[in-house]
Amino acid sequence: MESRRVTKTLEDQRMVERQVRGIYDYFYSIPPNSQSVILELQRDKHFDFLTRGLRKLGPLFSVLDANRPWLCYWILHSITLLGESVDAGLENDSIDFLTRCQDKDGGYAGGPGQMPHLATTYAAVNSLITLGSPKALSSINRCTSYSMFLLVPYLSFTPVNIDLMMYREKLHAFLLRMKDPSGGFRMHDGGELDVRACYTAISVASILNIVDDELIHGVGNFILSCQTYEGGIAGEPGAEAHGGYTFCGLAAMILINEVNRLDLPRLIDWVVFRQGVEGGFQGRTNKLVDGCYSFWQGAVAFLIQRLNLVVHEQLGLSNDLGTESDDSSESELSDEEEHLEGTSSHVQEICPPQEGQENASDTTKIADTGYEFINRPIAMQPLYDSMYLQQYVLLCSQVDGGFRDKPGKGRDHYHTCYCLSGLSIAQYSWTDEADSPPLPRDVFGLYSRNLVEQIHPLFNIELDRYYEARKYFSCL
């Protein structure tokens, strides 16, 4: 060790740097017209690659047999980010397939007949929300139980909603079964206990509006025990801070409203130094850059931008002040929603936590965290170079149809999904308000060609689909 020598790690690092520099040097050496051509997001080719994947996967994909809802999610989410959608046939097939993955006691498995698993449940639920149609949302547990006829006289819900209610009860029961006495979650019955499981469970519960105290009890403690001295979050206590787990841990902490228990200044220190000279992010200290961390690390930075001092609670209140009527009519959805907007943030933010409060009121505090969160104003600039990240994704990860980890690697659906999600994060990291498009100066390359759809950063679901789902599930 005394002599000056270069380790394998550093050799690899230098090689990647050389390759990336080659690409960038070439890029900057050509005239601007050609530059924008190279930079262009190749929508058609990506769309082709993705839809082909949904129709028929090559035999090489058999290793993903236990992860088939993931494939659905990666592909459907990517297609949605490109502003496209699948045709009715593919949509039906996807819904049918996912339905067959659903376990009779709640939760989705990696494939028909397999055991339900938290990660594939997350993927399946996110896929169905991404498909977004009433059919997709109501597909979830299609048991035509006679009990719905008993309920119809008392409620004005459609049969679909009753299905969902029962489904959600089952899913809730499944989530509870996965809960470990330590507070964390196991990926499946008897499976591993880690931060991934916490996130997927909380994310699913949150978006389906079935979060309660029992589910979140102790989750914060478990995640807290995984934050390392570096500031990032590891998969399990004692392990090394890692981009994927840091996203999972941070997002879960936000969703359960306990994020201020994390050491955030340290977390920030950790994440800002994960963006490398290549423009992309690495997943852990001294590892190579990888396009998929454009999302995992980029989203961590994006989430932190919204954790701020701002008295955002007053936004909710000023809505209240502006609203004239206190009409509590139950018939119309839009009223219901407006009401929910005003009061939930009101209840949540104005009342400081009090001991001995009823469980019910505690639950309202976390019920709509995901919605409240994206409506918070941004408190700070992006914590990383958002243009440079876009440059890496477009020039180094993009191939003719699909995205890859880094130059020299092959494309796949996983990297396509998370490169596109990371691209979205980077493009929207300067926009102050949810729903508003970014300024042209914040989008690398030709605005009209390269702008992708916006996502909800806590769930990684396209924003409009998220709103639809929220509307759907909040009135059940």
Binding site: P59, N260, Q314, P352, P407
Partner: protein, 704 residues
């Protein structure tokens, strides 16, 4: 252009894949049949094994194997038959090994092995051997490292032994950050338990510094060693929480004035305070955010003051209960109306009495503060505060002060008695020596090469050194490295432009510390306000304008300031100002404040009368770009005081300027300047006049 062209598979290859896939499919359907029918025969087990060997991710099959093991162990011929049990479990271990060869990132496979091991059947050596094999193939595989920590805990392998393993791994490849990380985990355990050979902590850390130095010197461009070095540095500078300063400071003679006239003119700007209510703020400032400052942890001795009636509030709005600065008010009675009366005040903080920092460290040393407060006789004629002229911040309004006012012991806020009653004297000799050594090594390294992270580390080391020195005796205090640190950050700004803002913020902190901790420099920044007829303000002003500050710090040294000029800097936030409880006049014009919410800290300044926020960028951006590395980015509590029913404003008006409303509703300003901001129009002016009934001057014009 995009890397390699993709090679289309040949026809033969495609056929081979297809055959493989169809085999797998048939295995899957067979397996699911066995699984759903709970069949655990040899044949069924073989099918599941084949399936897992070709697809280790198939977690359902792993669970099936668990059920099968349980089932078979409960068979009648398995009773207490060691051999039989062993053969069953060995079979599982073998299967996991094969599966891991196929994919050693399989969660299911590693988890299955943990499950088998917790049944109690495997030899430690065998596990470690297997791990060594896998870790050689992929030394950063976190599954393997997690499994390693699991095995060593299960088999009670001593941490010392594991530490040796990390040493070997690091010798093999010092870029392996996973090994460094595990080292920090193991050492933390050993140090905490004071294991044999690992106490005192100092010696261990010294050896670690030497160890990591080899890696740093071998290749300074490699990140891993530096991040481990950061952990070591953290262990070296992490001290018990200390009381670092207070207002009033220890040993001062303070005059409290009812009317702003201080009798003779020999008053000091540091020790005179005007108060209409015979109250005096008492501020304690700690080295870290602490909680549980209350009458049972802080004892205040003074005649006429009942210590346990004092109410302490934290000077931070983040609602966590932790704050670096804490405030209470001392009330002096009016009984001695005819002559000046001096009160002795003693404040005692006992060691480790329930005061904890947010990182769980208790308050380490007993501290003792003592000062005198002179309360003048009561005058019947109160000065009417409303009859005052406006304050001008122009250069001509100030003149240099007379040096006599500066009392050295007050500029030096660390003048604090730390009584070491029963404890051994805490010195930081080892810490300082260690930091000094590291500084020397770092300099040596940088003399031969230009290395970004080396420079950053040196800057951090020098800062840590100066901070440690400030905690020790007064004699060494003049040694400081501010100029060198500033130079380092200037270099870094050029070398690493993506992190420019980070370095700029660090620079600002160093610059402020440089000015404030040096008496001569500080004097250069002190001015006297020319108009002595204005009794409202203490006419002594600290001018920190035109310094390119992007952030403010060293607040513990500024508790005495009543008039502060921070104009023409780069400030995006005023965070930190909330502790300056004596502040009555503040100028932050010509900065980069982006929104009213950036003024949030001012809400806690109840004595603030004059505020200049003109020529900022309030309302100019849709995004509030305040700095991000604040000590507590999560302040959700600030809206607690919002009571719309008390508001006399119209909802719509407030809704448009709710940020302004939230900030100004609690302030009692007499003079305010908002001109030169995107937001400053007639509408907001009207709102401000309504919101601030005491306001006399708005943008230089009388508004009543």
């Amino acid at each position: 252009m995009h890397g390699r062209p993709r090679k289309a598979p040949t026809t033969e290859e495609q056929e081979a894949y297809a055959i493989k896939a169809s085999k797998l499919r048939s295995l899957q359907s067979q397996f699911l049949q066995f699984h759903h029918n709970k069949i655990y025969t040899k044949e069924a087990l073989d099918v599941s094994a084949k399936l897992l060997e070709s697809n280790p991710e198939y977690y359902t099959a792993w669970n099936y194997r668990k059920l099968a093991v349980q089932h078979n162990l409960n068979l009648p011929d398995g009773d207490n038959n060691e051999e039989f049990i062993k053969s069953i479990l060995d079979e599982e271990l073998k299967l996991v090994e094969n599966a891991l060869k196929k994919n050693f990132k399989s969660y299911g496979a590693w988890h299955h092995r943990k499950w088998v091991l917790s049944k109690g059947h495997s030899s430690t050596d065998k596990e470690l051997l297997l791990l060594a094999k896998f870790q050689k193939a992929d030394s950063r595989n976190f599954h393997a490292w997690n499994y390693r920590r699991f095995v060593t805990t299960l088999k009670n392998i001593p941490d010392e032994k594991e530490l040796e393993y990390t040493t070997d791994m690091i010798y093999d490849n010092f870029s392996n950050y996973s090994a460094w990380h595990n080292r920090s985990v193991l050492l933390s355990h050993l140090l905490k338990e004071k294991a044999k050979g690992y106490s005192p902590k100092d010696n261990v850390l010294t050896e670690e510094y030497e160890f990591v130095r080899h890696a740093l010197f071998t290749d300074p461009d490699d990140q891993s060693g530096w991040f481990y070095h950061l952990w070591l540095l953290d262990q070296t500078v992490k001290l018990d929480t200390l009381l670092v300063s207070s207002w009033p400071p220890h040993g001062c003679n303070l005059s409290l004035s009812m009317d702003g006239s201080f009798g003779d003119c020999s008053f000091s700007p540091f020790t005179s305070l005007q108060s209409n209510t015979r109250t005096l703020p008492l501020i304690l400032y700690f080295s870290e955010a602490v909680e549980n400052i209350c009458s049972s942890t802080v004892e205040v001795e003074c005649e006429n003051i009942v210590s346990n009636e004092l109410v302490w509030t934290s000077l931070s709005g983040d609602g966590t209960g932790f704050a670096q600065a804490w405030l209470t008010y001392l009330n002096f009675p009016e009984e001695h109306a005819h002559s000046e009366k001096a009160y002795q005040v003693k404040v005692n903080l006992a060691r480790s009495q329930g005061i904890f920092s947010s990182t769980g460290v208790h308050h380490g040393n007993s501290s003792h503060i003592e000062f005198t407060v002179s309360v003048p006789p009561y005058h019947s004629e109160h000065v009417d505060l409303k009859n005052e002229g406006k304050i001008s911040w122009s250069e001509e309004s100030f003149c240099t002060h007379d040096a006599q006012f500066l009392e050295s012991d007050l500029v030096n806020p660390f003048h604090l008695e730390r009584t070491k009653v029963d404890e051994k004297v805490v010195d930081y000799q080892w810490n300082i020596t260690t930091i000094n050594d590291e500084i020397a090594h770092c300099r040596e390294l940088l003399s031969t090469m230009n290395c970004k992270i080396g420079k950053l580390t040196l800057a951090r080391l020098l800062m840590a050194h100066d901070t440690l020195m400030s905690y020790t005796s007064t004699s060494h205090r003049n040694v400081s490295h501010h100029t060198e640190i500033l130079q380092l950050y200037d270099d870094l700004k050029k070398m690493d432009p993506p992190h420019l803002h980070y370095y700029q913020d660090e620079c600002s902190l160093v610059l402020l510390k440089q000015i404030i901790s040096n008496q001569e420099l500080l004097l250069k920044h002190c001015r006297k306000y020319r108009d002595p007829s204005s009794p409202r303000i203490n006419n002594f002003c600290l001018r920190l304008n035109n310094l390119s500050l992007s952030r403010i710090g060293s607040m513990e040294l500024l508790l005495w300031v009543q008039v502060l000029d921070l104009s023409s800097n780069q400030l995006k936030t005023l965070e930190g100002l909330e502790v300056m409880q004596l502040l009555s006049c503040l100028n932050v014009s010509h900065n980069k404040l982006c929104s009213f919410t950036a003024l949030e800290p001012l809400r806690l300044l109840r004595s603030l009368k004059v505020l200049d926020i003109s020529y900022n960028e309030i309302g100019a951006h849709s995004i509030d770009t305040r700095r991000y590395l604040c000590s507590s980015p999560l302040n959700h509590r600030s809206g607690d005081h919002w009571k719309p029913e008390e508001s006399e404003m119209h909802g719509a008006e407030v809704a448009d300027y709710w940020e302004a409303y939230a900030i100004f509703k609690d302030l009692n300003l007499i003079q305010l300047d908002v001109i030169g901001n995107a937001v400053s129009d007639e509408k907001i002016k009207l709102l401000l006049i309504k919101l601030l009934p005491s306001l006399k001057w708005l943008d230089g014009e009388s508004c009543r």
